[in-house]
């Protein structure tokens, strides 16, 4: 039987079967977090690196995790911050201005789009034109079907600003799909 988020946190904090509980946490969230990170970082190896860092941080921080926020949104927040930090670091290393073009243009996208049909590839290419943070918001809303309040907790932006950001992203994608 799968443990609830509350039970996982309680077990890790108590130290009893902490490793087992943490493994369960990884199994429960790895895929969702992987795709959340990969939508921003694009490259698989980079995604793997960031994702492992995320879980290491979760392991270290779980003892101090305050249950006033949701484990789910806390994990997404760490993943988002780690991804953005990673992208900014890479941009800096490659002398790309942080607010300039998306990082994936340097990371390569051939592997990323492998396995997509024509329409899906178009959609993914449209998504790649968005800035990383906007892409993350679109992913959480469109694919993960998260509520604006939850996304707001993850990215630390007001619900109003998030709605505006999402609508802009949707318009951009729609235009791309029509033009291409």
């Amino acid at each position: 039987m799968q443990l609830s988020d509350y039970e996982i946190v309680a077990q890790v904090k108590s130290g009893k079967d902490a490793n087992k509980a943490f493994r369960e946490l990884i199994a429960k969230y790895q895929e969702r977090l992987y795709w959340h990170i990969r939508r921003m970082v694009v490259n698989h190896d980079d995604t793997d690196d960031v994702l492992q860092n995320v879980f290491v941080k979760v392991w270290k921080g779980l003892a101090n995790f305050r249950e006033d926020s949701n484990l789910y949104t806390w994990l997404y927040r760490i993943a988002t911050n780690e991804s953005i930090t990673f992208i900014n670091k890479k941009k800096k290393e490659n002398n790309i201005p942080i607010d300039d073009e998306p990082y994936h243009l340097q990371a390569g996208e051939a592997d990323y789009l492998m396995g997509c049909d024509e329409i899906q590839e178009k959609l993914e290419r449209a998504l790649l034109t968005l800035p990383e943070k906007q892409r993350a918001v679109f992913h959480m809303k469109y694919y993960e079907d998260m509520k604006y309040t939850q996304i707001s907790e993850v990215v630390g932006t007001s619900v109003g600003a998030l709605k505006a950001s999402y609508h802009i992203a949707v318009k951009k994608i729609e235009n791309y799909l029509i033009e291409n």
């Binding site: 992987y34 990969r38 392991w59 990323y112 396995g115 949707v170 318009k171 799909l177």
Partner: protein
């Protein structure tokens, strides 16, 4: 209530982006095969190989402490060594200079006052000098300055031999066996 909200959002999406709305919301992207089955182990390895918590917080202090210790150990010794080397070199140089000047002064003094040297000696100094030098050597030295003339010294020695032997002394000498030991 939530369903109503969702419907509103869906209607908004349909209105804003009909093409996007018509697409299936499926993630067709692929992760490498077997990736998720090994992730927990990879994370565990990474956690085990991680540097201890707070390691980097205290690293700078540790390094600074080490540098300070090294400085107190090494730098004064180096400075002390340099000071020692300089003082030894200065001492050696001073000894050479003083030695050179002293010899130079003595030499000049001897050369300058060579002729007057014995004249200026007091009687006690003369007696002392006699103890160290044979009189003939001294005379030769005085006559010819610094250069000791060995030939003249021998000639003077021969001349000084007393040849006024008493005949009895000659007979005694010849009758003795002493001359038999002389090899020619």
């Amino acid at each position: 209530m939530n369903k109503k909200k969702e419907n509103i959002e869906e209607k908004e999406l349909l209105k804003m982006a009909p093409t996007l709305f018509s697409l299936e919301r499926i993630n067709n992207l692929k992760a490498p095969e077997g990736y998720f089955s090994n992730l927990a182990d990879s994370v565990k390895n990474r956690i085990e190989n991680e540097t201890p918590i707070g390691y980097f917080d205290s690293l700078a202090d540790k390094v600074m402490d080490k540098i300070e210790k090294e400085e107190t150990k090494v730098i004064p010794i180096q400075k002390r060594n340099i000071t020692r080397i300089i003082s030894v070199a200065a001492s050696i140089a001073a000894i050479f200079i003083i030695g050179f000047l002293f010899n130079e002064n003595n030499r000049k003094e001897v050369v300058a006052s060579n002729g007057d040297y014995l004249e200026n000696l007091t009687s006690s100094e003369l007696d002392e000098a006699m103890d160290y030098n044979e009189m003939d050597e001294l005379i030769c030295y005085v006559d010819f300055g610094e250069e000791f003339n060995e030939e003249l010294y021998i000639e003077n020695s021969i001349n000084d031999i007393d040849l006024d032997f008493i005949p009895d002394e000659i007979d005694e000498y010849l009758s003795s066996d002493y001359y038999l030991d002389i090899e020619f």
